[in-house]
Symmetry: C2
Subunit: 310 residues, 2 copies
């Protein structure tokens, strides 16, 4: 009998629960580290309402801390927010064993470097979720739209472990894609996130439809995307200029929705200001690129985030 793939999830928010649940459906032995929702998940698992079919995700084990795992995970999936106050290396350090691959299923750009340096003997897999999913309460996740996942070895390549993960996702019925250049995929996702996530918050809680209909905001989002494209080129993962127009047109066609950053803001949760904008500006600075629009958004979002949490 083929041995089951052992997976340990950190971060039982909407994205982590959904994708880990799908891997469990595909036959992996998925354990989870839960914090505030520990007793709910321990007692009842996670009920997932999904456009692909509802299911009940009962983790193999539910732990309070990585230190309780006492096993060798094939994959450690990190699906926490990327925030200055979350030390991911410290969070996972007791569970990283020889042969464990660390999967970063998170937002933002250039988020892998610190983890890769802290665990030089372990493979880092970078993953991007294109999904509309929210945790309605502890132990309940609502998957409303999309679901595609893109993954690749960091900084590049498609390892055998990436292929194992890809096949599990495919078996679970999700649209999945592995890529040789996962950093380029991050830039591609950032091209939309960098304007529209911050703007939805700064413009007083505007949904994507309101933003794109407003002429000056559409032009501003284009100017921001232009800056991202220039940085992506300097970073060696050039995005094509035509993607600006495509992003605008796609946004015009979308059913208007509130971005994840706006949901965080409205729920008084910290926003991923650094992962989305701060890291981008650090790279721009490194390459000597002038980014006045991104800098303005960063300054505004930083103070709004601070005020929102105080």
């Amino acid at each position: 009998m083929k041995q089951k793939v052992k997976i340990l999830l950190f971060g039982t928010g909407a994205v982590g629960s959904f994708y880990a649940g799908k891997l469990s459906q595909a036959g992996a032995l998925v354990s989870v580290v839960a914090r505030s929702d520990y007793s709910v998940v321990k007692n009842s698992g996670i009920k997932i309402k999904s456009i692909y079919g509802d299911f009940h995700f009962i983790p193999h084990r539910v732990l309070k801390s990585g230190a309780d795992y006492n096993d060798v995970p094939d994959f450690i999936i990190v699906a926490t927010k990327v925030l200055p106050e979350i030390d991911i290396c410290d969070l996972i350090k007791d569970t990283v064993k020889s042969g464990s691959s660390i999967v970063l299923l998170q937002n933002g750009i250039d988020i892998e470097k610190g983890i890769a340096m802290a665990f030089p003997g372990n493979e880092i897999i970078s993953a991007l979720a294109f999904v509309c999913v929210s945790r309605t309460e502890y132990g309940f996740v609502d998957h409303q739209d999309y679901g595609r996942i893109v993954l690749g070895s960091y900084p590049s390549g498609i390892s055998s472990k990436v292929i194992i993960l890809e096949e599990l996702f495919r078996e679970s019925g999700l649209p999945v894609e592995s890529t040789n250049d996962v950093i380029a995929a991050r830039w591609r996702k950032l091209l939309w996130n960098a304007p529209f996530n911050p703007l939805s918050v700064i413009c007083n809680g505007a949904d994507t439809g309101e933003l794109i209909q407003h002429n000056d905001i559409r032009k501003l989002s284009e100017a921001i995307m232009k800056e991202i494209i220039i940085i992506s080129k300097a970073d060696g993962h050039p995005l094509d200029e035509s993607l600006i127009r495509k992003n605008v047109e796609d946004t015009e066609k979308m059913t208007p929705y509130k971005t994840s950053m706006l949901l965080d803001y409205e729920n008084k949760r910290p926003m991923e200001v650094e992962a989305i904008l701060g890291n981008t500006l650090t790279l721009a600075g490194k390459y000597g690129i002038n980014t006045p629009h991104l800098e303005t958004l960063y300054a505004l979002l930083s103070i709004i985030n601070k005020k929102n949490l105080s």
Copy 2:
């Protein structure tokens, strides 16, 4: 006996009521056109609580419309907001007679041109109020701080009518100054207003103290001021670069307060987005100047203003 100076005020908001009241104290015959507050002002005048001493401003006449004035005003003072929905030429047209000077006691840059073109035979006086004053209810004005007024002939010079007005203000006890280059004075005031008024609104209702303490916002305000200085130079009224530092230091020292734009926002009143930012960007466009920070602020403030009024 010297004939009394006849003044007609449009706009019985805080600024208009305060300065017209002071002119009345100095002996001018000040009539006012009141709208929503007509019956209150007609019956009880305007009670002004002021750091220079409380006083009761009883207008010579209180009118519902300029058409009722039937006299020749020496000065028509326009103290309304500068908003696309207020047609000032139409508002004052019945009262502009030969020899009437039109005094624009308003915020913003390049706000005089349209009025000057509509009334080519009349002198335009441009005036800037540096004052903390608010209308607490109809017929009640609270003057909390400052009070200086700067005035000059538009586009330049100090006419005899400017001197008459200056002397009346001085008699009333206000700090007053006439200037040969009132457009330069407008640029100087805009240098503070263009960053801090919009930022106070966009940053979720931050007072001046919160704004200036936040490092990224302080840097952003400096970048915005830099753009204003470049436009002022192209416009022939060059501001000195050292004013950026002075504005920052002054703002650090100020008792923190909410900007007038923020008060408008909080009270769901239209904000002077065009007078402060829109006209500035029009001039920048005319001179071919790149203004990414101002453009970003303009786009954000436009949509926030629209959402706030809807």
